[in-house]
Amino acid sequence: MNHAIEVNNLTKYYGDLLAVDHIGFEVGQGEVFGFLGPNGAGKTTTQRILTTLLEPTEGRILINGHDLAREAYPVKRQMGLVPEESNVYTELTAWDNLMFTARLYRVPRSERATGARDLLETFGLWEKRDVKAAEFSKGMRRRLSIAMAIIHRPTLLFLDEPTPGLDAQSARAIRDLVRQMNAEGTTIFLSTHQIEEANQLCDRVAIINHGRIAAIDTPERLKAAFQRVQSVEVALEPDGAALGESLAALPAVTTTVKMGDKWRLYTEDPAALLPQVMSYAQAHDRRVVSLSTLGPSLEDVFLDITGQQVGTVRHETGEDKPRRRMMGGGR
């Protein structure tokens, strides 16, 4: 059986700048595939190539068995694209936006109106069907943009950062829709910064960094492969928030990150760290409000692979202790 997407040796240069560096991967039929990467990693370039908006410098792409370079027409009919920016026509009503797209994608005339109505109802826009998109909120435009991308019932849907900036209700509605479309057989290619979103939605994820695929696997297998980024989360009273430096000095701690009123203590050995935390609390007359051990999250894996810092507040251990987290290891 054909893969939904097969990418071989894909390369893209912008002048002398190598944006995508001979990457290859496959996306199975019916899979939700997450494509993660920091800004400038080559994520958007790859997606633009896959959606025919950009020509690769080198490489071969098969979409549902069709060579994208030679058979773009049948491929385009099978794919839907939701770009990061909600690209709706603000001077047209929601209804007219959908009718335009349906006609552009050659949806049979008899199915256009019913399809548009179903989608507008699904996205809670039916009552606003005759309102120009210029008057829509950001979330409403996003929903309309997605509706326009799926009016022709694509078998492969590309989503670029579908939920950032949306209220929780709109974001959840979009995630639910992705799950529903996937359950109905649509392959989803999700390009995102939202690590947790990828964790919740994706069967597999690829992490791209500096134009190369740094890791590709299921979220759980990726986490299991990064056991070195385990952590202990502890909340102490009183003055727990001010204890970062003291906690960072514990022998088994590699990195500390403040998480609200708690501290996350990264360690390679949680079993050794737990008694150290308890001893510290006892010695400094602090009460342990909560204490839990955590495995690596997908975000930890992502940050580790891409060589970025964990969290925004960081207290490194002293120079005399060679326990700095390994950064930018990649694979």
Binding site: T45, T52, L53, L54, L92, L104, Y105
Partner: protein, 254 residues
């Protein structure tokens, strides 16, 4: 197989039409379109014609050529950067249609606009100034062919990968304005020096002006069949150049 191609052709033509109708609804009343496509040709005409002794027929022939040229060639340079800025151009590029179809749709938009705007001086001339046409059919052919050709001419500039109208209008104006003065609009071809006439032959506007003169005044400098043959050829040439430049943008990643 043949049915497949016929169906594809029908689909692509319908898609070009769909793009054109959408653009008419979305962009015709935007300020840049009104400024560059509607007001500018009239301003230009009055700037160069007021206080000069020209008859109604000559004025109408000039104004028709001017509006056709400026209005049609403004559509692409106004609409496409606006679409790039809002991201809707990607929607069109990702749709299941060829680049040629997209460019054909965009050509139709400019052509419609030019034909509608040209109808104003035409109706004013016919109804108020009682101008009689020497060849109505030729006028129609000149308007349609000229509008399509100049609209495609505008697409060549719109291929510059910019997101602001100004970035495209600047080079476009740099080329279009000189054409205005060497195309027999303000100085008839017959009165030009030979070197200037040679330059005039390089301008697509020359052939439309000549057709307008022949259709309204009954006299022209060039053979009408030459005018009628060259305009479609130039239309194809401009579409090919625009398609190549668009493709280049897609390769370079602009």
């Amino acid at each position: 197989m043949k049915d497949g191609w016929l169906r594809r052709l029908r689909d692509e033509l319908d898609q070009a039409w769909t793009v054109a109708v959408k653009d008419v609804r979305v962009y015709y009343l935007t300020p840049p379109m009104i400024m560059f496509g509607l007001l500018l040709p009239f301003f230009l005409f009055f700037s160069f014609s007021i206080k000069r002794e020209i008859g109604a027929e000559v004025g109408m022939a000039r104004l028709l050529a001017l509006t056709t040229f400026f209005t049609a060639s403004s559509a692409g340079p106004v609409i496409i950067p606006m679409e790039r800025r809002t991201g809707t151009y990607d929607r069109l590029l990702a749709a299941p249609m060829s680049l040629a179809t997209l460019l054909l749709g965009k050509t139709l938009v400019g052509a419609f606009f030019a034909i509608v705007v040209s109808a104003v001086p035409l109706l004013v001339g016919l109804i108020w100034l009682h101008v009689t046409l020497a060849d109505a059919l030729l006028l129609l052919a000149g308007l349609v062919l000229g509008s399509l050709t100049f609209s495609a001419f505008g697409l060549v500039f719109a291929s510059i990968p910019a997101q602001s109208v100004g970035s495209i209008m600047m080079p476009s104006t740099l080329v279009r304005w000189p054409l205005l003065f060497i195309s027999g609009i303000f100085v008839p071809l017959a009165e030009m020096a030979s070197w200037a006439r040679t330059l005039a032959y390089l301008s697509p506007l020359t052939y439309t002006q000549d057709l307008m003169n022949r259709a309204v005044l009954g006299t022209g400098y060039l053979n009408r069949w030459l005018d009628l043959a060259l305009l479609p050829l130039l239309l194809v040439l401009f579409l090919v150049v625009a398609a190549r430049l668009h493709h280049r943008s897609r390769v370079l990643g602009y």
